[in-house]
């Protein structure tokens, strides 16, 4: 279990290798990577800046990760989230889950992302093609996704 906040990029293959290193009991590895898209609601985006609440962010992600380990049969997990200014196609977030069997790894990765989206204190500000900045609205679909875990 670990959580990292950073401005720099991450290497998905290297992160998996570090998690699995020396283990021969892992059967399934699921990763989710979120990327910056260059359009939002039909509008072109120049860049995106991620604001966050230092301290609470790490604490909340650790709580989410512990809850995932309580609910699912996991052998390991990792959450890496970037902050600062990012551009189209940049990686934003990485979630990795390890389990003996695939359904647990898939469910845990989806659980982590649903809760991260609605509970981790990050806020996105986008710069439109005209140079104007605006804060991204929270999506109702994300609250619904979190709600389905009961």
């Amino acid at each position: 279990m670990s959580v990292r906040l950073q401005t720099q990029d991450f290497d998905i293959g290297a992160e998996i290798d570090r998690l699995v290193a020396g283990r021969t009991d892992v059967g399934a590895v699921v990763t989710f990577t979120g990327l910056v898209r260059d359009t939002a609601k039909g509008e072109k985006i120049l860049d995106m800046t991620l604001d966050h609440y230092p301290g609470m962010c790490e604490a909340e992600l650790e709580r989410i990760e512990q809850e995932a380990h309580r609910r699912f049969s996991l052998q390991g997990s990792l959450i890496v989230h970037r902050y600062g200014t990012l551009f189209a196609a940049d990686r934003i977030v990485l979630v990795v889950t390890l389990s003996e069997h695939r359904h647990e790894a898939f469910a845990a990765a989806e659980f982590l992302m649903d809760f991260l989206k609605t509970r981790a204190p990050f806020w996105k500000r986008e710069t439109g093609a005209d140079g104007s900045g605006h804060w991204v609205d929270a999506r109702e679909a994300d609250d619904e996704a979190t709600g389905r875990w009961g």
């Binding site: 966050h52 609605t118 509970r119 990050f122 806020w123 996105k124």
Partner: protein, 83 residues
């Protein structure tokens, strides 16, 4: 106690943090919001629709009815949009 503001709540209030000493009658996070609104126009604007602003006491999410007694740090921010 220390108050912290993030994202558009911070922009509307015009500062990222401040120290406040609310009167004893202010016992919950929701009452603290009402007290801040009554204080100045910028705070009133930031909490224009108090129901959309999220609250954390000492880095834990809370509801507006949470007691603020003993809190070191209370944060106000919009719904999260990470990931």
């Amino acid at each position: 106690m220390k108050l912290r503001y993030f994202a558009w709540v911070r922009e509307r209030i015009g500062r990222s943090e401040e120290e406040v000493e609310p009167p004893a009658a202010v016992t919950t996070a929701g009452e603290l919001v009402l007290w801040l609104k009554s204080r100045d126009e910028r705070s009133d604007y930031a909490f224009e629709r108090p129901e959309v602003v999220r609250i954390a006491i000492d880095q834990l999410h809370v509801k507006p009815d949470a007691r603020i007694a003993g809190a070191r740090e209370i944060a106000f921010f919009p719904p999260m949009t990470g990931g």
